[in-house]
């Protein structure tokens, strides 16, 4: 090992380090630039550091657009979507792993087939359906069409299959019905996979773009990504303000990521390798 370390690693390490700086650079630029003043932005030669460290740009974001409202909309819709999606995924995955019933194979392949039809293909009928139900510019219209995801079902299926059969058998011997096995055996034994699925689906909903874009016309129902898209047009290239808004949208996600990185990476590889 030690020999290998000495022989191979230094040039490779330097290449990777250089690459990682390129990957991180946009974030550093964003955080620094969110403090810049207008003259800083237009300075030549370019200024890498802001001339002051005041939070004016952040204040301006809230003055220019209803940023707090967008933030609330994103948190609210993502939370409800995640809750419904998790409910659907846990019940479905449990039934698919534990229970024996007719049509199981068919249902599994039906769920799998949804993964092969990108949402853009069904976008227009969905939009027409939602608009017929008078749900354009409503929270229900943003939330409901996005609650089904085969991805979390399969993530949980792969976790539930690893629960030892003996736990099910002994619960059955104790007279547990199939609902109680779900609530008292499967869910307590799957806290970490369920929280992983939750994290995944929340992050997915948090950055969701296409659907909220088409289903909202009024600014009051815009989620954060949609609000920020319009900020580009409305701020007419006031980059320092765009950066302040980006910091506020990205930072919570980056913090969550740093805390849960292991879980995220593990579940990506798990589902990735199994599919």
């Amino acid at each position: 090992m030690a020999k290998k370390l000495k022989r191979m690693s230094i040039p490779i390490f330097l290449i990777l380090l250089l690459g990682s700086i390129a990957m991180i650079f946009p974030f550093v630029w964003m955080i620094l630039s969110a403090f810049k003043t207008v003259p800083d932005v237009y300075a030549y030669p370019p200024k890498w550091l802001p001339s002051s460290w005041k939070f004016n740009n952040y204040v301006k974001v809230f003055q220019m657009i209803p940023f707090a409202k967008y933030y609330f909309n994103s948190i609210f819709t993502s939370t409800v979507q995640t809750a419904i999606q998790l409910f659907l995924s846990v019940t479905a995955a449990y039934a698919l792993v534990v229970l024996d019933f007719p049509g199981k194979k068919f249902l599994l392949s039906l769920i799998r087939s949804t993964m092969f039809v990108p949402i853009v293909v069904t976008l227009i009928p969905l939009y027409l359906l939602v608009s017929k139900a008078k749900m354009i510019d409503t929270y229900a219209g943003i939330i409901l069409p996005q609650v089904f995801a085969a991805f979390t079902i399969f993530l949980l299926v792969s976790f539930f299959s690893t629960i030892p059969q003996i736990l099910y058998d002994s619960a059955k011997l104790d007279g547990c019905g199939y609902y109680r096995i779900l609530s008292e055996v499967v869910i307590p034994n799957s806290k970490s996979p369920i929280s992983t699925a939750m994290l995944f689906s929340f992050l997915g909903h948090w950055k969701s773009y296409t659907w909220p874009l088409i289903v909202t016309n009024k600014a009051t129902y815009r989620t954060l990504p949609i609000g920020m898209k319009y900020l580009v047009q409305e701020s007419s290239s006031e980059y320092q303000i765009m950066m302040a808004a980006s910091v506020m949208a990205i930072l919570p996600v980056l913090i969550v990521y740093l805390f849960f990185e292991k879980q995220l990476v593990k579940s990506i590889t798990l589902t990735g390798l199994k599919a």
Partner: protein, 311 residues
Amino acid sequence: MREKSSAMRIHRVTILGKRYESAQVRAAAVLLLPTLIAIILLFLIPVVQVVAYSFTNYNLTTGMKAYNGLANYEYLFTDDRFFKAIRNTFTFATLKLVIDTSLALAIALMLDSAIPLKKYLRSAYFAPVVVPVVASSLIWIWFFDPGIGPFNQILSALGLPTSEWLYHEDTALLSILMFSIWKGLGYNVVLFLAGLQNIPTSYIEAAQVDGAKAYQVLFKIKLPLLRPIISFVLMIGIINTFKVFAEVNVMTPKGGPLYSTALMVNYIYDTAFTSGRMGRACSASIILFLIIFALTIIQTKLDARKTISLE
């Protein structure tokens, strides 16, 4: 004692010639009902409708909705903008798949060797994957600004020619591609890295004992064993690149200079939600689906052949 034995008695039903425990069938029906409703409403009905609407002149602005046969498809095949969108999508997807997959593979192979700060490095490559597309697009819009963007400032400081980036038809799509590779690279790196770490070290050690060179270990052991993951990455990659919309819509809302950045999803979006031509947009959606479907099939077929010839 008696209670237990009655609980053990199991009711069975026969459905389609197979025996099931009725309690399980009942529980499955209850637990799967919500998912089934969701699949029907959010998947099956829209899939049927998108096919049906594609044969109509459904138009939201005029309120028309009549069967018009293949007229939409005929229109699309003579529409320059549609062809441009298809060409842009193929260019984008090809470049992205090739660059992204090979770069991610190279990075994963390097990360798999003995190096310091491995954990930090992996996090750095993965970080862009988790951040929202729109917020990170905003950063890159500034990077690409021809006047006050850091890219041009660095280039001109080095005495190199500058570029118009998003504002010229030759470079706009490539600029979005740059962003897209930065944004997505880490996902494949993580997948490849996991695959490499699954290769038993005994294989590699045995080869080294036999005097295999590093490149031989790479081409004879690592890459063949990575094949399933590479094919998975390609399949997901095909589907994902043909779905790209958000970054294009944010960075070039009108489809870029001379429609040079419009991808198929942008065309569908414009047709449906700017012009209100739902029928035509549905036909374009069907074509998009068929392309993705065909490519996925070709990819699986090709890959199966490779695996066989290797053995």
